[in-house]
Symmetry: none
Subunit: 409 residues, 2 copies
């Protein structure tokens, strides 16, 4: 089965947005065992969009569109699909009522041009979008499918996972089973070198991907049944685990923060944080996890040095070793643990950049995790811009927390 991706929007052609939806969908299609031959971006122009869509539908079995489903005149995906299929839109009265109710609940009248979000065509099944007002379209005719989804990434991803993937699975014959092993504390090329022998196999295929929060090892097997595909994957997973050990922190949708919080919650432990250079990003990343309040009590963002002392870091440590020192990080972890009455404390101090601090270069970061009677720490030099350094600091702290907990057994 051949697929093709069209990303819609003039902003893509102005380079104001990087085409991350297309990358996400490309990876997803690989996982589903669907071949992707073409990816295009096209602007908000009905003629060019229709031309591109018509050619895509001629040469591919599935055309996946993102964007162009908003309510404005620039949003032309529905119009283009109607033109290519030569079908006439009608208004779905039930969805029109839903739309009007949505606007009424916000105390405003629905602008009349929003009505086109309630359009359907004879070949179209609408796809639910609980995160926005634009439903997607599954347009199927003559054995070919056009899928239209919103361009807003979180709306698109939810629709893809819940609405599109199940429909696609029922069209592909072989079953593909994929497991992702999530790896912390090693770079992608280092992971690749260690599992080199696995990477050259064909079923399962094994590939590495550098993600923002970890390196993924994706193991995918195709087989006539799910059980057979799973068995193939399980054997390779065992080999990978023997090589990568505790660097593997989780699987599939696990994140460093979800795994660390899970460990805390299982052990009935509580956590508090004191951060300076990461500026609250550690606390924010931890609280991205639903249910994090069961373990995370709170955090201090001690941007001004005086606040660190006010919050319990001994002044002589700061004066002797400097604010940017592993000693200060350790004192921060201990101080916040005691101050907030938590079982564990994390301290982060460093230079987010772009300028030097205490003559230490941007990217210098010290991190400590303290529990009763024990402290783990790490000192790093991260590369990149300010936001990247903050992010590396937060994610490294979360990994240090996990390793600290594992060592306590």
């Amino acid at each position: 089965m051949r697929a093709e991706i069209l990303s819609i929007g003039t902003e893509l052609l102005l380079g104001q947005i990087t085409v991350t939806n297309a990358s996400y969908l490309a990876q997803q299609l690989t996982t589903l065992g669907i071949d992707l031959y073409f990816v295009s971006q096209v602007g908000d122009n009905l003629e060019r969009l229709s031309e591109t869509l018509r050619r895509a539908r001629d040469r591919s079995d599935i055309v996946i569109m993102t964007g162009g489903l908003g309510p404005t005149e620039d949003d032309l995906s529905r119009e283009a699909i109607a033109a290519v299929l030569e079908e006439t839109p009608t208004v779905d009265r039930a969805y029109e009522q839903t739309l009007r109710a949505f606007f009424a609940s916000r105390g405003v009248e629905m602008p009349e041009h929003n009505i086109k979000q309630a359009w359907v065509l004879p070949s179209v099944t609408p796809l639910a979008n609980p995160f926005g007002t634009a439903p997607g379209w599954w347009a199927e005719r003559d054995g070919k499918v056009i899928v239209a989804m919103p361009g807003v990434p979180h709306e698109m991803k939810r629709m893809w996972e819940e609405e599109v993937v199940p429909r696609l699975r029922s069209r592909t014959g072989a079953v593909l089973f994929t497991r992702i092993l999530r790896v912390a504390g090693l770079g992608e090329s280092s992971v690749e070198e260690r599992i080199d022998t696995l990477i050259h196999a064909t079923n399962p295929t094994v590939a590495t991907y550098a993600k923002r929060d970890a390196v993924d090892v994706r193991i995918s097997a195709k087989a006539p049944t799910e059980a057979e595909a799973q068995a193939l994957v399980a054997a390779t997973e065992q080999q990978a685990r023997a090589i990568l050990g505790a660097h593997i922190f989780g699987v599939d949708a696990d994140t460093p923060q979800s795994v660390a919080l899970q460990l805390l919650i299982e052990r009935h432990l509580t956590l508090a944080t004191m951060e300076s250079c990461s500026g609250g990003l550690l606390a924010s990343t931890l609280t991205d996890v639903p249910g994090s309040s069961a373990a995370f009590l709170g955090g201090l963002v001690s941007y001004a040095t005086d606040l660190k002392v006010q919050w319990g870091v001994p002044r002589e440590i700061v004066e002797t070793h400097g604010v940017i020192s592993v000693e200060t990080a350790r004192a921060m972890a201990q101080a916040v643990r005691e101050r907030l009455g938590a079982d564990l404390g994390i301290g982060i101090t460093g230079v987010a950049g772009p300028t030097l601090q205490e003559n230490k270069p941007a990217g210098t970061v010290h991190i400590a995790v303290a529990s009763a009677g024990r402290i783990s720490d790490t000192s790093q030099r991260f590369r990149g811009a300010r936001e990247e350094i903050k992010w590396r600091a937060a994610i490294t702290a979360i990994n240090l927390l996990r390793l600290h907990l594992l060592r306590e057994g």
Copy 2:
């Protein structure tokens, strides 16, 4: 003049690489006033690549290719250009010697398949690549141009700037000038409705884009000189400002946080935050701005209710109105302001979800900004997943801070 971008490489279709070259080139073309109508990614397959290139050359004046210039059998850009132009490659003997010398200098013999990096066609002018072994191609015939550049970003950018841009400039007459007005506190369709009359103009063109942190109004004008293009944009900007007023918080690369911090720094004011449902994201967003330490003292993430009281929120307010209340948000803003000795304090309390809290639904958020003797507040109901609610809370707080400061004059 119409341009089209082709990014070559199967890895692009596997989603392993985000197409950053295309975004960069799209921005560059905008600046040069060259219209970009299509962007595509195509795999390392001669038939599909030639088909795509032929169609691109038919409908556009300039086709810009990146990738496919390496020495391996998978690198097929030269072969595709030769096929489309129906010209036969010959080896440029001088460049062949350069290549052989390059390998000799590294103590290895040149692999014979590398010879194709010395190919030329009758219509081709090679483009120098000091950062790699693959020269680019400028293939010009019948008034149409194909530019082929390496896919490695730093090789491509150097070749683009030094070799391609000067050649393109000599072909274009007009200059394009663009200004982006950044808008807070209004949705995209509401912005579009208000500036409806401007959107239907043709020079300048005006378009709206929903970004994660704001709505952008992009005004672009073409003229024979930069000064004339700027004057056209300035007239439209004035009209847009008359309509959108204080909703416009900045221009071009401004962010809500950079603008709010700039206001604080200009007025020599300091800021502290106390957040619960946003979990540190407000502090983190503020500290993304380089130099934020000049105004931002620090923040408290009071995830546990007890911490709010410990940090100065009167217990009777929490007990009377609930943790999720505008009264608690106001008390948080005042308490953190006093506790950290800052000129201004921000308080955020709400339900990040997915579960109810105090019987209030996910997305309920109360925000307050306090300065000496004055408090501003807002109560909102945000939609979306947990991370989206946290983000809307943080960005709404930053906008409330800006409006609070503007009202103080």
